[in-house]
Symmetry: C2
Subunit: 189 residues, 2 copies
Amino acid sequence: MKLLEDRILKDGKVLGGDVLKVDSFLNHQIDVPFLCELGKELHRLYEGAGVNKVLTIEASGIGIACITAQYFGCPVVFAKKAKTSNIADDLYSAQVHSYTHGVTNNIVVSRSYLSPEDRVLIIDDFLANGCALEGLTEVCQQAGATVVGCGIVVEKQYQGGGDKLRRSGIRVESLAKIAAMTDGRITFC
Amino acid sequence: MKLLEDRILKDGKVLGGDVLKVDSFLNHQIDVPFLCELGKELHRLYEGAGVNKVLTIEASGIGIACITAQYFGCPVVFAKKAKTSNIADDLYSAQVHSYTHGVTNNIVVSRSYLSPEDRVLIIDDFLANGCALEGLTEVCQQAGATVVGCGIVVEKQYQGGGDKLRRSGIRVESLAKIAAMTDGRITFC
């Protein structure tokens, strides 16, 4: 999506080799009118796929998930990061490793809010190694819900998580796909 | 707002005396088309007040903040809960005590995203003792930004936080105000 690529080139900052900071418009300050354009594009990509629920993970996925869900007219469920490994009976849960923070979290979703009737679009702001999306996919499998696909704002394609998911048969649509970040320069696929 | 009061009576659950659980439509699963109606009402209340930024706190405030901000055509900034008490120079910060979780968190906002030019609408899903809103207000003061007011989905009026803020001169608009929760029965103001 050219609008997004242009914005990343204009306002994104490459830090310490592999960190792309887009917190001026995506995940600390959120440019909501801009987010609406991204949400409309995700809706266009998945229109007609029968999406009746959007699933994301707290915190930075919630904004793009809610903005996108309004075009589908469907609810959002956001997975919570659980502090303990004691997971209650009324929750679906999966482990998600964060390479950024060097920790493994449990993510949990109440059993009340995912069911076999759900056709789920998984939305997140970033896709790198794919651990978060794998965890969200696992939660959907536990619920017997159908994963229609994933809608991502920025995919770091060179980290391989997106292609691993695609090889497993999951549709993954990313609005911007980064092929490389070298010497502070961003190259899109 | 009658639409919201009716929904709380229909789907809210009063647990253990003082906990109102609305996670079927507000803060775990989010009924986005319903949230749009709440956002339009918050926009109606603050229309003409010159709001050019919405400030909230992760995680459950982000959805209603983004949905509301689109009607103002302005960005959202969400304060992050910081794990350490070592706050970097490039951040505004304030302490927020959570009675629910029995902990005090630092909340932080990058200095890049709040400035004296900002006319801020603070939005959150819940208002009880008001600690989160006081922290967000303090962050605005540090930035020299103007707090236009607060827009809240559910205020537990009997816990006093909203009226304390109002007495300090801050405009607080709550879409539903709960006067009492007794024996599992909810009474609105």
